[in-house]
């Protein structure tokens, strides 16, 4: 499984890429591989606010539906509408194709997330 450096990761296999006070959120390679061909993505509304670990999106393959959870508290500032027409982008390149961009509410919560090194170890040991 591909793990990109310099991203934060959750145990639910979301990734988070910080840019100043904002961050992009997407699905890690492992998650898209587990789901298989993704055929549907549900996106939140801009300005919606979510707490950490709250479901803000759903991705579905033919067989299964999975919620996508917020890695930290935050407000949606952008959604990747390309995914509505072409959900398979999440399979093709899960790191290039982010799901939402958020404004991070509390940057200290980043400390609770895994680094890429920790996430690699997590994949080896737990999964």
């Amino acid at each position: 499984m591909k793990v990109l450096k310099d991203l934060y990761y959750t145990e639910d296999h979301e990734w988070l890429k910080v840019e100043g006070d904002e961050a992009y959120i997407g699905l890690a390679d492992y998650a898209q591989d587990q789901l298989g061909d993704i055929v549907y993505v549900e996106l939140p509304e801009i300005d919606d606010e979510y707490e950490k670990e709250e479901a803000f999106s759903a991705v579905e393959s033919v067989k299964a539906a999975a919620d996508v959870y917020m890695p930290v508290d935050g407000k949606i500032v952008e959604v990747n509408e390309e995914l509505l027409d072409d959900p398979g982008l999440l399979n093709q390149d899960p790191y290039e194709n982010w799901i939402v961009k958020i404004e991070i509410a509390d940057k200290s919560q980043l400390d609770d997330l895994m680094t890429s090194e920790e996430y690699e170890k997590f994949l080896d040991e737990e999964v």
Binding site: G36, D37, V39, Y40, E42, A55, A58, E60, S61, V62, K63, A65, D67, L84
Partner: protein
Amino acid sequence: MVAKKTPLYDEHVKLGGNIVDYAGWFLPVQYEGLIPEHEAVRNAAGLFDVSHMGEIVVKGEDALAYLQYLTTNDIASIETDQIIYTMMCYPDGGVVDDFLVYKYADDEYLLVVNAANTDKDFKWMIDNKKDFNIIIENISDQIGEVAIQGPKSEKILQKLTDTDLSKIKPFHFDRKVNISGVECMVSRTGYTGEDGFEIYTSKDDIVKIWNAILEAGKDEGIKPAGLGCRDTLRFEATMPLYGNEISKDITPLEGGLKFAVKLDKEEDFIGKEALKKQWEEGLTRKVVGFEMIERGIPREGYEVYKDGKKIGHVTTGYMSPTLKKSIGNALIDINEAEIGKEIDIMIRKKPVKAKIVSRKFLK
């Protein structure tokens, strides 16, 4: 209970199958992917391991009389080497199982039943044997079974046998077909809505058949196909799945299977009285097809609402790989079941608009 392995387990692993525990059996959900496998069956051919299916033999001078009493369809209507789809019901009209009956002779029949129901069915059959002069034998453990499905099935399988397969008509079978040197029973049946064959042989020989078919079908684009697409294919083709469209709580009439329930059959059968009453009084609910109007994928178990009132639930739902549309079946209140009516499917606690359409999605 630990899941069982079919004789083809090692082949699934070799082919990179994504193995899960299904109905007590280790079987692949998919190999390459659900969508390419689904498309292979619709456009070329796919090969399924269905060795988990149960096989129960009924023989003896009362075999026909017993099956007429046990099941809903008219077993007397088929000839030797012919097959009929039927169900057995509880006295209240709920379904014990749905299955195919193969007529070997006037006094011998084979029932091919759902894997998860095999033990329950066998017990039900024994419990209802009464004074019929018959022997009931569960031979499931001795049999291996594969299904080749898709428009190129005959062309591929014909390469491996001297028997003229075009002579085996739909819902018929030949008990002695030599495939790659192995004696098999071959029926023109399946669970995908496509042409195809189901091939039965001893569990020791099924690996040879599996590999021979995959090899023979290479140029035609055959793919090994998993349980994932087995469900999307049967659902698109309006075929029921036990536990979803019919169950102990959903009668065949509610499930839209009246064609297999012969209420005017001369003989009494278990459930006849209850089903007759249900039909005469009129159904209060039934399984309908629907198509999403707004974005969303319906899933089994999701609730169905109309004007804020719950009217039923989704029995099967998918983003259809063939139609590229979100479609489903739902068991709903008969008053809302008219084609064209709008309903709401509750997806992640939100009502999402859909409209009722014919269950014959493929037309």
